[in-house]
Symmetry: none
Amino acid sequence: MGAKVLVVEDDAALAELLTYNLGKEGFEVRHAPDGDEALLAIDEDMPDLIVLDWMLPHMSGIEICRQVRARPETREVPVIMLTARGEEDDLLRGFETGADDYLTKPFSMTELVARIKSLLRRMRPTIAGNVATFGDITLDRETCRVRRGSRDVHLGPTEFRLLDVLMQRPGRVFSREQLLDRVWGHDVYVEIRTVDVHVGRLRKALNRRGEPDPVRTVRSAGYALDETYKASA
Amino acid sequence: MGAKVLVVEDDAALAELLTYNLGKEGFEVRHAPDGDEALLAIDEDMPDLIVLDWMLPHMSGIEICRQVRARPETREVPVIMLTARGEEDDLLRGFETGADDYLTKPFSMTELVARIKSLLRRMRPTIAGNVATFGDITLDRETCRVRRGSRDVHLGPTEFRLLDVLMQRPGRVFSREQLLDRVWGHDVYVEIRTVDVHVGRLRKALNRRGEPDPVRTVRSAGYALDETYKASA
DNA sequence: CGGTTATGTGACAGTTTTGTAAAAAACGAG
DNA sequence: CTCGTTTTTTACAAAACTGTCACATAACCG
């Protein structure tokens, strides 16, 4: 499946149009009609991107945007705002608040989709739709398969998600806590060292004898995919 | 503000308009009339953002964009493209190539400025936050990597934090007490001379034979990054 | 100069962090 | 329920890093 997109829009007709079209593009769409629903949705399952109508019943778009930017775990989520024509003031305040892009109604679906893809690519460089690539490693979310070069790599579900998370930002160091959050879920309690074990298994599955290890251990910090390796492969 | 913006635009009148207005906003603007000049300008002093006309004499905007994206050191630089009305094909190809945003001529200066600021804020992790540079030394907090020139420098956690602190204000002298505070934490008790040992280790890791030492000892005061060195490198 | 103080640095013993095998527990398809 | 797979925990060894000390150098000062 594609990225998760949260659409915050009170106009039911437009909301449905968006849901339908984005869904067709392979995004997993969730809809929230107002600010409270939006924050709830964000809590329940973190979207990869938010499309935010600027005019909402109770809480203004600007307020939601501010709240999203305020929390550390959502700070990185890109926001596209939808404004009515000619609200240039709002627009500028929107950018101030930290929106990443905006579209003026009415807008073309093609354009919205292009902008969404652009922002997502910027956020998660290796992910183009369902397939992520890092050097000679390929991870396909659709078929749940991983390949290295021409060989098939068998991973258990946990190793698969682990690699998936690491590949969302190659090179970035994820702490064990962050990995627990993202791979196991923020409500599950497991020993921190379990991460190490699974990283070990991921390595064993990924590396045949003589191949360089794409997983980097950063002492006292966590694990990351090694950009050096990517360059060499 | 004060970010460096490279404007690649062959139409002299528009170029001047851009230069003037962006300058007024506090950006440091450099102008290149064609692709070759653009690449040269990028080499000479890396811009923080590129405004790129899509229709250029020799090399098309798309080609420049591709080249910018191909090099690791410019991969993260955001690109805004300027297109004539109705070239929707170009637009989509532009996003494919990795442009981050686009504007259709004619556009309002306010809007361009807003978009530039938004992109710069989004890139902040790279420009203002996560990567520090001092001369030929680079410290990346996201990947936990340090490089000197083209060589990878391996540091232990303590040396890493130490360099991090020093790089937060290059040239400033930090007393050993201050370094203990900031690197070890103000609640830890360790001998003051431990700082010296770690500075020594940092030096050893940073300097290959024949290279000048970027760390300056200030007798009876502390340590600092040497601005003399920065100038020379 | 000689005396004094500050810094550089090798060695080392102790600590922390990581890799990993193996056991135990959990899970899932028949 | 049973078997095979996967996950989690645990324990231990290996590796990496740390803080301290002692002594060698270097800088300062009258």
